[in-house]
Amino acid sequence: MSAATHSASVKTGPGLRLTLALFLTPVVLWLGLLIVLPHIDLLIMSFRMDPSFGEQGWSLENYHQFFAEPIYWLTFVRTAGYSVLVTLLTFLVSLPVAFYVTKVVARNTSRFLLTMLLLPFWVSELVRVYGWMILLRESGVLNHWLTALGITGAPVEMLYNDATMIMGLVYTSMLFMVVPLVSVLESLDDSLIEAACDLGAGPWTIMRTIVVPHCMPGIVSGGIVVFMLTLGNYLTPNLMGGKNSLWFTEQIYNQFIASFNWNQGAAFGFLLLALSSCIIWLGLRLTGQKLSRVVQ
């Protein structure tokens, strides 16, 4: 952007610079006032004690509290682990879908299928999760049919366990994996797959040696998005996992809303930010991808 500004100012002088400034002002104001400033405020807050305790100095007590209380850091680890698991599952579910949509079906069908994939995402996440709840709850549609067909004697509670929560999280984040995968798979020349087959490779070897390496940028960018969305998701774990979900966002929510301890909540928030940054960095290192390439 600096290069563009530079060349523009060289060409037409201050007039264009003013135009550019006018264009940029809303963005800068938005980012500065609504994102950067609150974050700085929260960061400061996380290093101070709850004002109700009286003393108003700098302190690491909020962070200490996190490590001192096992429920906090256990939830934290559990959230991180499940988020990684959800990301992996989402990838495993999305790759065949994306491959089928781009490589197997005809072009027109492919567009139709892609629209069908997008369609549920026109509805808000809340509504979709409620949809799942209607299907899965004890008095829900699925249980009705299971008992009616005599497969189960009595209705089974399918909500409020980890498996359902994971499934819900995979469902909500699938699109964010499918779209980047579809775009990288479209750039994969079919003849590479055929060449691998011609040289004696079976389907699994082709996937492992040709398709996945080619899709790596899409996999990593999709993975980052899915991971961050899952880690910071509040709605789905809360509704589908219920009280047992123990998702770290709920801890943050409790601190802010239930305990009214904003300082503790802010510290938790920054710990989550640090965690997601660390895991993404680790993921990039492990897959040998560059962030600049992935975000393109």
Binding site: D189, S191, E194, A195, C197, L199, G200, A201, G202, H214
Partner: protein, 502 residues
């Protein structure tokens, strides 16, 4: 270029297949040494010089094939082949040696590739329509056809990527029905080569060997061997993106050859290269094929590629084989109007058959001129015909009125030229066979070095007639607008039923 007696193949001295033409003095070269010239170029200027240029151009093509393949010796045998060739008769495919295959013969007795009555339909469209052929071990076989003629479908069926609706594909006598591409002893070189961009050259080549579960040390050794064989030693650690077009080509070939396939299939791999490199790769491919002895099946829409490299060429059109023959027979004795129009350049005159005896006939063109020409079988008097005549067979000023300055030394006669059934070469100076004459007006000179042409209209007609313009300085006086006489041999033109070439 001292004289014809020095080298039997003087026009190939450069050792490249580039169409450099014949910068010589107008001496007729001794084409008899390699089987004689094409009948369509079987023309001599009655006096001396000018005709030689014509001959060289057309002979060049056939001769290049001979040179590149190193099968000059066999060419003479091919020349003996009958003129009327059924496009799908497998027996004519191996004119040199065709062992009779008995059911209990050893596997070695089978052709490397045999295709029988192959049919492939896409909904209502028939892509490959009852095609049969056989390719002997170690042969370079080409399928030549315009885009959309079904040649790629045919190749993909042999590779296993498409399954035929009916018919049999057998590789070394083994029926390939139901065998997946990764289990077939045939490898395909893709049009855009399909090198794996995320792997090094060595990894690309090792890919197939790894799939066979070969030990690491053995793989390394074989990869190095094959890299040396294709002339790229030490390139193993490079990425495909770092290679030039020709190098990528060779890596793609190495990647297949390392697996020692029974048949190597090539899907127009030279298409993406620039002209100069393509010319070079043609020779390289042919040499490599002769060296490794693998059976090549090559598909292309570029007739020069097919003619230069192949032992046999099948011309394919609308899902069928029009003719299957040696390159020089395709050029000289096209079996159908399509082949006549597709292989080599050609002028077409439409007219009516006035008279026909055997394969010779008299054609009255729509403009009223009467020409002698060869006639395809089955045409009766009064039939509407298209007469095909190659630009390089048309001589400018055949009676030598305008350029009587030609003072070349005489005494070289080619009367002994055996051309397997074609009329013997006329003795130089004799114009007896050059029975066809027409007055034309030069519209434009299309200068293209050795391939220069005159665009002409016969008097009183808008028909375009291309005439080869040899660059031997004898025709430098010709200007657009000039009226000139052109003529050609009685057997240079060939007639087919009108409209049958579409």
């Amino acid at each position: 270029m001292q004289g014809p007696a020095v080298s039997p193949l003087p026009q190939y001295r450069g050792g490249t297949a580039t169409d450099t033409g014949w910068p010589g003095s107008g001496w007729p070269s001794r084409c008899a040494a390699h089987g004689g010239p094409s009948p369509l170029a079987n023309l001599r200027h009655p006096r001396s010089g000018p005709g030689a240029g014509h001959e060289t151009r057309s002979r060049d093509r056939a001769g290049r094939a001979a040179k590149a393949g190193g099968w000059t010796g066999a060419a003479g045998v091919h020349d003996q082949m009958p003129t009327d060739i059924s496009p799908v008769a497998p027996s004519v495919l191996s004119p040199v040696a065709s062992p009779v295959v008995s059911p209990d013969a050893s596997p070695d007795a089978f052709a490397d590739l045999s295709v029988t009555n192959l049919v492939k339909r896409f909904e209502r469209f028939t892509a490959v329509n009852d095609v049969s052929f056989e390719v002997e071990r170690g042969k370079f076989f080409s399928i030549l056809g315009p885009s959309g003629c079904g040649k790629t479908t045919l190749l993909r069926m042999i590779a296993g990527f498409e399954s035929p609706d009916s018919g049999v594909i057998a590789i070394r006598g083994r029926d390939m029905a139901g065998i997946a591409p990764n289990r077939r002893p045939a490898n395909l070189i893709f049009q855009h080569l399909a090198l794996f961009p995320m792997m090094t050259v060595a990894e690309n080549i090792a890919f197939g060997l790894k799939r066979r579960g070969m030990a690491g040390g053995e793989i390394t050794r074989r990869v190095q061997d094959v890299l040396e064989r294709v002339g790229l030693p030490g390139y193993g650690a490079k990425m495909p993106a770092q290679l030039s077009g020709g190098q990528k080509q060779r890596v793609a070939i190495a990647r297949c050859l390392v697996l020692e396939p029974a048949v190597l299939l090539l899907d127009e791999p030279l298409g993406a290269l620039d002209l100069k490199l393509r010319e070079q790769m043609k020779v390289e491919l042919k040499t490599l094929q002769a060296e490794v002895g693998t059976t090549f099946v090559y598909i292309t829409h570029d007739q020069s590629e097919a003619l230069v490299m192949s032992d046999h060429v099948a011309v394919m059109n609308a899902g069928r084989f029009e003719q299957l023959d040696t390159p020089r027979n395709l050029y000289r004795r096209p079996a159908t109007a399509f082949v006549a129009g597709f292989v080599g350049e050609t002028n077409v005159w439409s007219g009516t058959l006035e008279e026909s005896t055997g394969d010779a006939g008299l054609v009255r063109t729509d403009e009223g001129a009467v020409f002698r020409a060869r006639v395809a079988a089955g045409l009766a008097r009064g039939a509407r015909v298209d007469m095909f005549i190659r630009p390089e067979a048309v001589l400018i000023d055949p009676d030598g009125v305008a350029c009587a300055t030609g003072d070349a030394p005489g005494g070289v006669t080619d009367g002994a030229a055996g051309d397997g059934g074609d009329a013997p070469l006329p003795v130089r100076g004799a114009s007896a066979d050059l029975g066809n004459r027409v007055q034309v007006q030069v519209q434009a000179i299309l200068f293209d070095g050795a391939a220069s042409r005159l665009l002409t209209h016969p008097e009183g007609s808008r028909r375009e007639v291309m005439v080869a313009l040899p660059q031997n300085r004898l025709y430098d006086h010709i200007r657009p607008g000039d009226r000139i006489t052109v003529g050609w041999d009685d057997r240079a033109g060939i007639c087919f039923a009108a409209g049958s070439g579409q």
